[in-house]
Symmetry: C2
DNA sequence: GCTACCACACTTGTATGGTAGCATTGAACT
DNA sequence: AGTTCAATGCTACCATACAAGTGTGGTAGC
């Protein structure tokens, strides 16, 4: 939820968003210890804004603050991954049904251009960009249904799910079927076929499930 | 999401939870200006932990901090109310279907005792307690399906919805049909009848919709 | 060699003073 | 009378100092 306002350039905000990004991209792997002092030196500022960002990250479950002992990037919690998947499935299925009833034209166009960029990125084998485009695609669905707040909440709950997907991405990823399903969903919205759209969405989300068992075996230190 | 850890008795936490409670119960009405200094005097502590709690409340959208001007309790945002309702409906419908497939016995018993207390509170006309019991009832549904994280996220998104319900409560409230529906849902879970359970849940949530138009007329200063 | 203990180097939590920016007021000016 | 603008008092923001808890390594005593 990003209505945290405050001036975007404030010291506290830059370290917050920077750290958040690094955590979500696994640049800061789960379990990394952080320390307010160390970060204050890295970012060339006092402890206060750093601490502030730690508090916000803790609020979102991205870091774990242990009083008087230290702060570390939270491990990926399998339960939360499953819950995130569950929640996302319910909401996305509902939203795409909404989209079939009413969806603004300009948003449909946005989806088209997004699809084009997906194809391009796929050929370039640019996984990170593909990941971002995938996210933007779904986000646009919510935006078109005026449900951006819902999307924000999903994002928050899915910090754990997304990190596991990020791990999964490095092991193996076939974008093609996902892309095809994206196209199929847009067509279904144009045809105003909620049942078909919902069915594709359900399959789509099941495809991007990462197998936690395998991940836990491969990256035991990252997963709780 | 309350895995913000930190020692529960820390100064920052007490002011955070106290303020949060006061905001959600409208003890601090929307639009109230807060000021770090003032609160630090009220709670007999320095500005630092107060400021920290402000940051956390802002993260949840409960207060709005305007950089060099002040901090005030956020107005009830009609869009967020609608989104909260939407999100809650989707997730509760899905969860009660899950509950019909599998629900631990002790949780069913918890629902029974909750129902008994609801009846008692209804006779006593204790609206606030009824409100809390209602919340506990739904929370138990999520708990039984191991979806407490989802419930936490709903609660967060619903801070605006709940405040509007709190307003609505003071104008007019008929608990009886809600109570009957609660009973009916428990029965449906026992019978393992997902379709009926979901239908009742849908009606149930529609009942507790507060009419934003009316509210906006009655409390124009509270609503955006 | 083993254990108990203590000093020290960390950590986060809290207090406080100073800074920059916004808003209001009121006086000077047109 | 209406307008401009500077003084003033407010705010959140940040830096710094101190307090208090935790873990660790070294050392004295056995």
């Amino acid at each position: 939820m990003d209505w945290s306002s405050q001036q975007p350039g404030s010291a506290g905000n830059v370290v917050y968003s920077r750290l958040k990004h690094q955590i979500l991209t696994l640049e800061l792997p789960p379990g990394t210890v952080l320390s307010e002092k160390e970060m204050s030196m890295v970012f060339q500022m006092s402890r206060t804004p750093v601490r502030e960002s730690f508090v916000r990250l803790a609020q979102e479950g991205l870091v774990l603050v242990l009083p008087q002992r230290g702060t570390k990037v939270s491990l990926i919690d399998s339960e939360l991954v499953e819950e995130g998947r569950f929640m996302r499935e319910q909401l996305e299925r509902a939203v795409i049904r909404l989209a079939c009833e009413h969806f603004p034209e300009e948003m449909l166009i946005a989806l088209d251009t997004n699809l084009a960029m997906q194809q391009e990125s796929m050929e370039k084998r640019d996984d990170q960009r593909m990941f971002d485009l995938d996210e933007a695609f779904h986000r646009t669905l919510f935006e078109g249904c005026r449900k951006l707040g819902t999307w924000a909440v999903i994002q928050q709950m899915n910090s754990h799910l997304n990190r596991s997907r990020m791990l999964w991405l490095s092991t193996d990823q076939h974008w093609n079927p996902l892309y095809e399903q994206h196209k199929e969903m847009v067509e279904a919205i144009r045809r105003r076929d909620p049942n078909h759209a919902e069915r594709v969405m359900k399959m789509h989300l099941n495809l991007s499930i990462s197998n936690m068992e395998v991940l836990k075996e491969k990256y035991p230190n990252y997963i709780k």
